[in-house]
């Protein structure tokens, strides 16, 4: 009886693990495909019959030009090769022939192709995302604190008005916002990229919902014990709210890091642009350079993955506490 119960338990556990592993593989597959694509040649990108890059033969680059992919027709003291794309035939020295499978050079090409440089875009995106996240978390905490723990006229009405602003699509307010920033002289500055995003209704809403779960008596007891309002906020409320605060931080950071439209609208010069603008360089109306786009996407999501790995425990807790997921 006990043995059968243990077997049943083992079976259930195995099924759960099987489901989780399958889900994990499915979730990781796009990333896996992205990395594989980033290591392929342009013609291999389209060859869906072969998942993995194969060995390719290249003719060494002449000064100022890229290596040319060739196929070997005849080997000897001189090697007879045919260019894959143009069909031209050459006799070359054996040391001019290079064999490559994984084209790591796609990463260098993608990195160097945008102007002024991806490193500049990284710095811009990092500064904007970090300051925006810090600001939005702070303003969200303060606003949610006021909405939950203080009584003031029209409190609920004001909160509904706050929520209503979430329903307005960004595209609708783009031009009015541009006009305001233009009047302030902030176009093409960090101000335009950061200040409008220092407060966010989503964060206020999420924290308010979390704070409402806490007993009001906690606040009353702290006040009776002589704690100040800021003291309660910093010594009691914030330590209790780390998971939702981290969730807001991740959402804000991701939103800022992935933003494309806003940075393009409010900045003009290349040195003010962000990482997503750099990625968009490889795709346009008439075609896409897939291998370079995937290489750029890979190095652009790396900081996010690292950030997520550090904060994932809190992120999961925050989701569980708020009932929200990304």
């Amino acid at each position: 009886m006990i043995q059968s119960h243990a077997k049943q338990k083992l079976f259930h556990k195995s099924m759960v693990h099987f489901g989780l592993i399958t889900g994990g593989i499915l979730m990781c597959f796009p990333f896996f495909w992205m990395i594989l694509t980033s290591l392929k040649s342009p013609s291999e990108v389209l060859d869906v019959n072969h998942w993995f890059p194969r060995e390719k033969t290249y003719l060494s680059a002449q000064a100022g030009s890229d290596p040319v992919q060739v196929e070997i027709l005849e080997e000897g003291v001189k090697v007879r090769v045919r260019e894959i794309l143009s069909g031209k035939i050459h006799q070359v020295e054996p040391d001019q022939i290079q064999k490559k499978t994984f084209l790591w050079s796609n990463y260098a090409t993608a990195w160097n192709k945008v102007k002024p440089s991806f490193s500049r875009y990284f710095v811009n995106s990092a500064v904007i995302a970090i300051v925006t996240t810090f600001g939005q978390v702070l303003t969200s905490i303060l606003a949610a604190y006021a909405f939950v723990f203080f009584q003031f006229p029209f409190r609920n009405l004001l909160f509904i008005v706050f929520l209503a602003t979430m329903m307005v699509p960004q595209e609708m307010i783009l031009i009015p916002n541009y006009l305001i920033l233009s009047e302030l002289g902030w176009i093409d500055t960090y101000m335009a990229l950061i200040i409008p995003w220092l407060a966010g209704v989503f964060g206020i809403f999420m924290l308010r919902q979390f704070f409402m779960q806490l007993p009001m008596e906690l606040f009353d007891a702290a006040m009776i014990d002589g704690c100040s309002k800021f003291g309660f906020l910093f010594r009691i409320l914030i330590p209790l709210s780390i998971p939702p605060i981290l969730t807001i931080s991740i959402f804000t950071f991701l939103g800022s890091w992935n933003s494309l439209l806003w940075p393009l609208i409010v900045t003009n010069s290349q040195h003010m642009r962000t990482i997503q603008v750099g990625i968009s360089y490889f795709s346009q109306a008439e075609g896409t350079e897939w291998e370079l786009l995937m290489a750029a996407s890979t190095f652009c999501i790396l900081p996010l993955i690292i950030f997520y790995l550090f904060a994932q425990r809190y992120f999961v807790q925050g989701e569980a506490a708020s009932g929200l997921k990304g």
Binding site: I84, G226, F230, L261, N268, Q270, V277, E286, G287, E289
Partner: protein, 463 residues
């Protein structure tokens, strides 16, 4: 009590830190760029907004560098705006804010919008400049028409103009006994059907081969693949003697019988199995993977596809029509904004004139597969060599002499979206299958419904 005060001070400290950060950013932002007007070597800066990334952007940058080093008065400073739709929004916002660039790339609909209020046009009429320039009359006729608006005012000059082209897999065509590209839509349909029934893709040889006599389980090679795009439908409509709108561009004519006939070509491709619909760039990708014999795409797509096509391919002009030999021009123009001052206007004009010189327009075309704008450019030896030797070199250029335009109303962008979604709905219904006898009626009804909605959009802008 002391602890309470300390905590309050800590709270205020956090606030102060945030505001200090904000103030730092504010002053960093307000420092501005003192060199905005002039370059270090004293040249007047001409600000040019465009949306040309990647390989096309690189070609543009190298031409701009060449212009800037060719003279000592002006420096064209490019500012990349990502995508056409973002550039359009930004242009409108900058006009409203009164802080425009000097020149910008834009579609005709935006030009119409910015010049609709007489006396308050946001763009300069280039006619006074053109009087002293012999280049305008040397532009291809369709490009002259494209730049000339009501009352003969010229508000733009051509910038990146293209035509659709037919790309075909030479190996597949020779397998079914064809050595030249199809010249009519019926021929394209017939060869596509032949390919679909006779050719399969051999994964071991990594090339298309003829189907074996006995049951062959290898994937068939498709005849024709397409993504939904009103561009081609409009060309077929004009070729069949139809029209997109009335002359005043206040009413669309997509609910006519000839429109239904044109769209039925795509419907037949799906229902008879010799063609299939793809999303986004997938038709280009399928062509590159040798999964389909024919695609029609912008001539400029070749720039992005050429290094992926490791098989013999051909590029030809789109098939001809039954009643009219016509194709539709696409792409943007460059415009000069008003209120930028005399000196900057002179510099901006100097640049766009230079860009449309025979030598430069030829190089722009040879490096990007856009079409050159000047007739004189076709006489240049390097251009003749390009047309003779480069695959696809002639395909776009040949269509210049039969080129026509889409309507230029500011509402056309919205109309195109409506037309595209009507086409998507029709093709989706056909893909799901249904009674063949009812298909034509369904196409008629959907086009008629789209026409009503497009007319409402046109009416908004013709008030």
């Amino acid at each position: 009590m002391r602890r309470e005060k300390r905590e309050e001070r800590r709270g205020y400290g956090s606030f102060s830190l945030l505001w200090l950060l904000v103030l730092c950013l504010f002053f960093t932002g307000c420092l501005g760029d003192p060199t905005r007007e002039l370059t270090a070597d004293g040249k007047r800066k001409i600000v040019f907004w465009h949306a040309m990334p990647g390989a096309l952007g690189d070609t543009l940058t190298s031409l701009l560098n060449e212009y800037n080093s060719s003279q000592d008065k002006f420096h064209v400073h490019e500012e990349f705006m990502g995508r056409y739709d973002i550039l359009e929004q930004k242009i409108i916002a900058s006009v409203m804010a009164g802080k425009t660039p000097d020149i910008a790339q834009m579609y005709e609909g935006v030009t119409m919008l910015l010049t609709r209020d007489e006396g308050e046009e946001s763009l300069q009429n280039l006619s006074p400049y053109i009087k002293d320039w012999d280049g305008f009359t040397d532009l291809f006729e369709v490009l002259q028409r494209n730049s000339t608006y009501g009352d003969g005012k010229v508000y733009s000059l051509p910038f990146n103009k293209s035509f659709p082209v037919l790309m075909y897999n030479k190996r597949v065509l020779s397998l079914v006994g064809w050595e030249r590209p199809p010249k009519s839509w019926n021929e394209l349909a017939a060869i596509s059907a032949l390919v679909q029934s006779k050719v399969v893709f051999d994964p071991d040889k990594r090339r298309p081969v003829l189907r074996s006599q006995s049951g062959d389980s290898r994937d068939p090679v498709g005849g024709y693949a397409f993504s939904i795009d009103p561009w081609l439908f409009e060309i077929m409509l004009l070729q069949s003697g139809g029209a997109m709108t009335n002359k005043e561009e206040t009413k669309v004519l997509f609910d006519s019988e000839v429109s239904v006939d044109s769209l039925m070509w795509f419907v037949n491709a799906i229902s008879k199995g010799w063609g299939y619909r793809t999303q986004g760039y997938d038709h280009q990708n399928d062509f590159g993977a040798q999964k389909v014999a024919f695609i029609i795409t912008s001539s400029v797509s070749q720039k992005f596809m050429a290094n992926k096509l490791n098989f013999p391919y051909g590029v030809a002009a789109v098939p001809g029509g039954e009643k009219r030999d016509v194709s539709i021009l696409s792409g943007t123009n460059v415009c000069l904004f008003s209120g930028i001052g005399e000196e900057r206007s002179r510099g901006a004009w100097d640049f766009i004139k230079w860009f449309n010189s025979p030598e430069i327009t030829a190089r722009w075309a040879m490096n990007t597969f856009y079409v050159p704008t000047r007739r004189a450019s076709l006489k240049l030896p390097k251009m003749q060599k390009y047309m003779r030797e480069v695959e696809g070199g002639r395909a776009g250029i040949e269509q210049l002499k039969i080129g026509d335009m889409e309507p230029r109303s500011s509402a056309w962008y919205r109309c195109r979206i409506i037309l595209r979604s009507a086409m998507e709905k029709i093709i989706s219904i056909v893909e799901k299958g249904g009674e063949t006898s009812k298909i034509r009626k369904m196409v008629q009804e959907n086009l008629s419904d789209a026409a009503k909605r497009m007319n409402r959009e046109l009416a908004k802008y013709s008030l």
